[in-house]
Symmetry: C2
């Protein structure tokens, strides 16, 4: 392999694929980035067996190609070196399993690994694909992924459930104490109903490399994996096996009480009250719904007591006293971008539902904490 390429172009593509570099040192080749220089151009691939990312640089964007070839290079060092080399153009030459970068003042030799040992992931595309706007996919991930479970005891809950039918995609994430649900419409009707669970952590990595440009992303679904195609990138994630729990009954359609509150005021009041809460005590804070206001309070024997009052609008005169995790409430509120939030309540031990007052397709649900 022997070619010359613009540093910034190479670095940008390396940064994208680097999200799939394994941090574990158990299988060294998974810490590598594979370079494939072919007739068409340069393929860069990383895979930690969870996700595989491939980025493609067209022949026409490469300054000069003298020799084709393949090699796997330790990703961490290769990327850091490319980042730090003070040169606009970079010449990469391989000799067997050695890679050399030459600049006017320096010569950098990196040991390579055999490309045949790199995981051979099929990155074929499907004929049945779903097209979604990039910013819609980014929003789905940002507004639901925080609610996935981190516990490996119920692996299925570490994923985000995508149910696709006709022109509707329903996305759900839950750790069984809270739930995020986002419903979106797609332009083209899909023929076969789809129900899949994608690891949430993988989707968070995906969201990091999707830029804000107003374009489509293609979703190609297979039995064991899903593949996202956009720009010059293919992002593949494995799927989680198992049945995702049916959460539809959790969302109460006719709540006892609906209150309207300024989103930022509520967030800041909970933020202050949360000072006295701790992970150990489930971050519990109390919300007492009075006639025209809500009193947010938290108490710690050792530290003290905080009480905040917020004016709210109510649709009836029901009074309620409900406790919940300040952390969960703040994470849910962060996804609501409208000035006001609707809080739907059905009792002291019934799920709390949060919605934007301006859009109906996002639901945040939090299970209260029983206190004595």
């Amino acid at each position: 392999m022997n070619f010359i390429i613009k540093k910034e172009l190479l670095l940008e593509n390396l940064n994208n694929v680097s999200k799939a570099i394994s941090n574990k040192n158990i299988i060294p080749i998974l810490g590598g980035v594979k370079l494939d220089l072919s007739e068409e151009g340069l393929y860069l691939t990383c895979s930690d067996n969870e996700i595989t990312i491939r980025s493609f640089i067209e022949k026409k964007d490469i300054e000069k190609i003298n020799n084709k070839g393949s090699i796997v290079i330790i990703g961490r060092y290769f990327i850091e070196l490319i980042r730090k080399i003070p040169s606009d153009l970079i010449e990469i030459i391989t000799d067997g399993l050695n890679l050399t970068i030459s600049t006017i003042n320096g010569e950098y030799n990196l040991n390579g690994m055999n490309p045949d040992e790199f995981p051979d992931k099929s990155l074929e595309l499907s004929k049945n694909l779903i097209k979604i706007d990039k910013n819609v996919i980014k929003n789905i991930i940002n507004q639901t992924s925080f609610a996935i479970s981190n516990q490996e005891s119920r692996p299925i809950l570490t994923g985000i459930n995508f149910k696709i039918k006709d022109r509707i995609i329903e996305c759900v994430a839950t750790d069984s104490y809270r739930l995020s649900k986002k419903i979106i419409n797609i332009e083209e009707k899909i023929e076969e109903e789809v129900n899949l669970v994608i690891p949430g952590r993988n989707l968070i990595e995906l969201s990091k490399i999707i830029n804000e440009e107003n374009e489509k992303i293609e979703m190609h679904i297979f039995s064991n994996n899903v593949l996202f195609k956009f720009d010059n990138i293919i992002f593949q994630s494995r799927l989680l096996n198992g049945n995702y729990p049916d959460t539809s009954k959790l969302i109460i359609i006719e709540p006892t009480l609906k209150i309207k509150v300024n989103t930022e005021d509520l967030y800041n009041a909970i933020d202050r009250a949360s000072l006295l809460t701790s992970e150990k005590d489930k971050n519990v804070i109390n919300m007492e719904i009075k006639d025209k206001e809500v009193v947010i309070s938290s108490t710690s024997q050792e530290i003290g007591k905080i009480e905040e009052r917020i004016i709210v609008e109510k649709d009836n005169n029901v009074l309620l006293n409900i406790s919940y995790s300040s952390k969960y409430m703040m994470e849910a509120l962060r996804t609501i971008k409208s000035e006001y939030t609707s809080i739907l309540l059905s009792g002291e031990i019934k799920p709390i539902i949060l919605k934007s007052t301006e859009e109906d397709n996002l639901i945040q649900l939090i299970v209260p904490i029983k206190t004595f």
Copy 2:
């Protein structure tokens, strides 16, 4: 205690004293901030027994004083709360060992501790004081403190040695593998010679609260502690006991070879070469001094080899090959603000000396590493 104060004024003063809040939970009162509201104004004090910081807010800057008094409040929660309260004015009321902050929408109660249990540090001033410019003290700390030892096996080396005689202060920090020495002149001649060792970590905290204003800082020296007075702040640090090693012989006056190199080029070349070095292997890199250039190189069996060339000016044609820690060299180079750096060499196992080409009062010394 009962008073009203501007939030920003209180917060700024709390941030300054907070550097002396203990993070260890062994003695709870050391995690506190002591509030003393007296005739003259409000004293805020924190002390972790290593350092004590007292800040004073004059009566005229306090909006309203209704009642004097003292209390100790858990610093972490008190400061975080003051920071987050959405109010320009803050009313603080104590009732016994309870502290209450009231705003329009909230009431915040914090448990206090008995001020009599707070460490009673004498913060008396001395008649024999030394006046130094604020930015000079900041520079001394920034240019030497990184070279202190982190090992408690030789506690004296965790400090910075100040030797003061006539109109000269000589500051030295060393971990026995490298040394930083800064010499400054003061305006007034001091009568008695002083030799003291101040814990480096404490000085780093001091440098954080010294602002950039062009004023003097007073240094009051006692047998067991030193006290810095500036603005409305008194900063007290304990001193380290024991004799600081005599390092004067380490600095070779007549080196065999003097080279002049662009500071930034050298720093960046070492930064890149250091990619292949590791803490485990003492971050060793090699520097080969040739006729008109220096070759910086590093090698790792597992990763590869980096070689960088930099053009240098030499005062004679001596050739040398010397190895050292890339980390130490980079930390030393960061203190040199001039375009060019002088490197003074006396042999492959003799200390490397770095100096700015523009000022003579800062010396950075690094002991080479023997390689085979």
